[in-house]
């Protein structure tokens, strides 16, 4: 089995599995965030549950961080091997004649998303860890006794430059998913009569989810 994971196909298979996991997480993240547009109370309750339930905190959260790290490290390993497979580049190469821009630039769109994750962790994850595990405040409330999650979310989206960076990052996410969604299925060997429909679903997912995140950021910027 270890021999398989050291092969080109095995590495791509592992990359696809981590991609499936991250795409499911993204859907879950969006489902909770969109609540903030409809009801501050529901968003607060959902956030408090996710932030304090031990299964989420001590099981899913470490798995998620490992999943992100694995996807990034494996992506880099594959990229290095791919570059070594052609050490002398073509003088003239017409890549757009046979493939999409998204498929040829996954490493760059992925890198942009990784940079965004740094900002996102700085904005939300690190303060959350500090409040809960360093200061030891698991109440999830402000001094006035109200939940703090919705308040913190709106506060982050006051700065126009931060909103612009978030929107730009979601454009890169859409570009990454436009190729990555169907590519992951191909990497696990799924290419059959359902492939056409799956590609259509993948395009819808790749556009709707990032657009939804952009909508949430803009909504809170203009309604704080």
């Amino acid at each position: 089995m270890s021999g398989i994971l050291n092969s080109s196909i095995g590495r791509k298979f592992a990359m696809a599995l981590s991609a499936f996991f991250l795409m499911i997480f993204l859907l879950q993240h969006f489902a909770i965030n969109i609540l903030s547009v409809f009801s501050a109370d529901t968003f607060n309750e959902a956030s408090h549950f996710m932030g304090t339930f031990w299964v989420v905190q001590y099981v899913f959260q470490p798995i998620l961080i490992l999943g992100v790290l694995f996807h990034f490290v494996m992506g880099m390993i594959l990229e290095i091997r791919n570059r070594n497979a052609r050490k002398i580049a073509y003088v003239k190469n017409n890549g757009s004649a046979n493939s999409t821009w998204m498929s040829r630039n996954m490493i760059w769109t992925g890198g942009a998303i990784l940079l965004f994750l740094g900002l996102h962790f700085y904005d939300f994850w690190l303060p959350e860890i500090n409040t809960k595990f360093i200061e030891g405040d698991m109440s999830g409330t402000l001094a006035n006794g109200e939940y703090r999650y919705f308040e913190e979310l709106q506060h982050k989206f006051v700065d126009v430059w931060r909103v612009a960076l978030y929107c730009l990052a979601f454009v890169f996410l859409a570009l990454h998913l436009l190729h990555g969604f169907s590519s992951a299925f191909q990497s696990v060997g799924a290419n059959n009569k359902y492939t056409r429909g799956l590609k259509g679903f993948g395009k819808a997912y790749a556009i709707i989810i990032p657009l939804g995140f952009i909508f949430i950021a803009l909504y809170h910027h203009f309604n704080h």
């Binding site: 089995m1 092969s7 095995g10 050490k87 580049a89 003239k92 190469n93 890549g95 493939s99 498929s103």
Partner: protein
Amino acid sequence: MKLTLKIWRQKNADTKGKLVDYQIDGIEGDMSFLEMLDVLNEQLINKGEEPVAFDHDCREGICGTCSLYINGEAHGPDRLVTTCQLHMRMFNDGDTIHIEPFRATAFPVIKDLVVDRSSFDRIQHAGGFISVNTSGNTIDANAIPINKHDADTAFESATCIGCGACVASCKNSSAMLFVGAKVSQFALLPQGKIEATERVLNMVKQMDEEGFGNCTNTGACEVECPKGISLENIARLNREYLAAGLKG
């Protein structure tokens, strides 16, 4: 038709190459691309210069010998053709045409536009065969009933001529379409079942050892393949490999 050719010239595998400009005139639209290069070489020989080395054999699109990366595409701008089937009518009077060898670490340049594609042969040797009794009592393949869809799909895979356009077109120099086709042509037929597990494991192992890149599913190989080998072959290769890995 008057053309400017920018052709990769490289003395041998150990020297650095470069693009050299050539002017050529009197090219007809009905000529094939290789015939155009023949005209150029005749001119070069008459001037006492070294002719351009390029691979060719059958010149009817079935042997897989010709190659060339023409204006940034394997086998040039036309679809479902090899370079020998590419007509000069695809170009316009006054055009500049870039002609380079197929580029991949696993396809080192031997001279000018000629590359060493023996890495494909070694992948085939690793498992691209079936064991058949040839002692005189061979059973005709048609004696074994085979589902029509499977037979047709296997035949489509078997039309791969091993030219290497998939590797040349892939941004990662992946050989997955070639190996996928060679595994698929046997995987779908009863004769191929006996050695299926070892075949796919050995061929992928050899493919990786040769230094080909990883498939990132850009689909460039499928578009540039002169025989229209589809990406389904890569998906089948993935399935066969993962199943074989779990078995053995």
